[in-house]
Symmetry: C2
Subunit: 267 residues, 2 copies
């Protein structure tokens, strides 16, 4: 049993879609969330740089005495988990493994699409993870760099998003996939648009729900659940909070206030 | 006279459009270029954070013994010039003043549009600079956050860029401007698309040419020109160079090679 908080980090607001689901499934737990908004995005940056940023973010959460670290960012999960696991002795959970497990379970014909940032797609982390569950599944990947700025612009259902989705997703459609992993925490905001383009026959896999389930299971198996319900949430960012509070509300599905700016130590 | 190099910095590849024009006008000068690719973009970040990054970038150039600093980034120019001028004793040239001067000169009816990042538009630096040249000019501004990722995706002439430009620029068109400042170093790549949307009657103001002219004039007036032609160029970035070299070629208009990764000291 542990009354300590769960630590969650992302490059910015995207991880709030994961946090929302953790809060839904584990409302009694305290949360410390860090968005590295001074250096967002991670998706276009190199694995080396993302690993360094992830270590710095995790070190911040550890200084806040969290009992577990959730990497609520696909790019960081796809390249930094080994480094995080080596450096820190507490449980570290990423979003790739849960999403891959769900995709492997939900495809009927063994053909899965994966969309994400350049960093996530280049790492091939989803392909590797899906193959750990079932090596016979064919995986087709495609980076969709414009989806993040479209979601942040509030244009998720705009004709521009529709046209962009058609351009990005038509190669995947031609591979006749029946499951599509939304491999970036921003993408659930574009679900309606993506659904319209890929059609009803393709299942959309959003890691958030499955990740929250893995967080709950790990707390239980490690004996780290709270004894007393609490539900406190603290939000930290590395740039001034104004934009995070404004944009983040749509991701969290509720108003964001009292966000505090902090500096991360270099590693 | 000074044989030292001109220092140029930007958050990433955008400043290469300015560098290209400096090289065209001053081929005999040596250049040290820094792209802060580990923390790009600056346009969505707060003034405080951008000022800190600009000071760190300038300090790097000063350690390379440059004779002048060119802030080849509209966002940094719009918020960081006073801090840079206070900290460093060498000439510092931004892109706002030259662009504003050209806009003030080119509008016939005194109605100017300005497009840029969120940071640049919020700072109102162009409005202030244009009014220093002519307080009677009416200035209409609009942030265009998707233009940067569109240019970096190579979609400058794609139907998505066209539709985005129509959405962003139609409010400016309705103000009946006759000059439009491309207030972000990425935007010259979208010139054709922007031209199609705003029509032939609106002059498009690109700061690069005017900035290079101001660099040349300042070298002359400060007695800092080279005596012997040289033309060496050194490129540094803060993330691994792969993406910068790949994307940057289109911005510089020639192949980019031998780019070196460096770390900036925190200020």
């Amino acid at each position: 049993m542990s009354e300590r908080a769960i630590g969650v980090f992302d490059s910015g607001v995207g991880g709030l879609t994961v946090l929302k689901e953790i809060i839904r499934q584990l409302p009694e737990e305290d949360i410390v969330y860090l968005g590295d908004t001074a250096r967002v995005p991670y998706g276009t940056k190199s694995p080396q740089t993302v690993v360094r940023y992830a270590l710095e973010a995790a070190a911040f959460l550890v200084r806040h005495r969290v009992k577990m670290i959730v990497v609520a960012c696909n790019t960081a999960s796809s390249v930094a988990l080994p480094a995080l696991a080596e450096r820190f002795s507490l449980p570290v959970i990423g979003v790739i493994e849960p999403g891959a497990r769900k995709a492997a379970a939900e495809t009927c014909i063994g053909r899965v699409g994966v969309i994400g940032t350049e960093g996530t797609v280049k790492s091939a982390a989803y392909t590797a993870a899906i193959h750990r569950f079932n090596p016979d599944i064919e995986v087709f990947s495609r980076p969709c760099p414009l989806f993040v700025p479209l979601a942040e612009e509030g244009w998720a259902d705009h004709p521009v998003a529709r046209l962009t989705a058609e351009e990005y997703l038509s190669p995947l459609k031609s591979h006749e996939i029946d499951a599509l992993v939304l491999g970036c925490t921003h993408y659930p905001l574009l679900k309606n648009t993506i659904r319209t383009v890929v059609g009803e026959s393709v299942r959309l896999i959003d890691s958030a729900e499955e990740t929250a389930r893995m967080v709950a299971a790990t707390l239980k198996s490690s004996g780290l659940q709270r004894t007393e319900p609490s539900g406190k949430r603290a939000f930290f960012v590395t740039d001034v909070p104004t934009r995070f509070e404004k944009v983040g509300g749509a991701f969290l599905g509720s108003i964001l206030q009292g966000v505090e700016q902090v500096e991360l130590d270099w590693i």
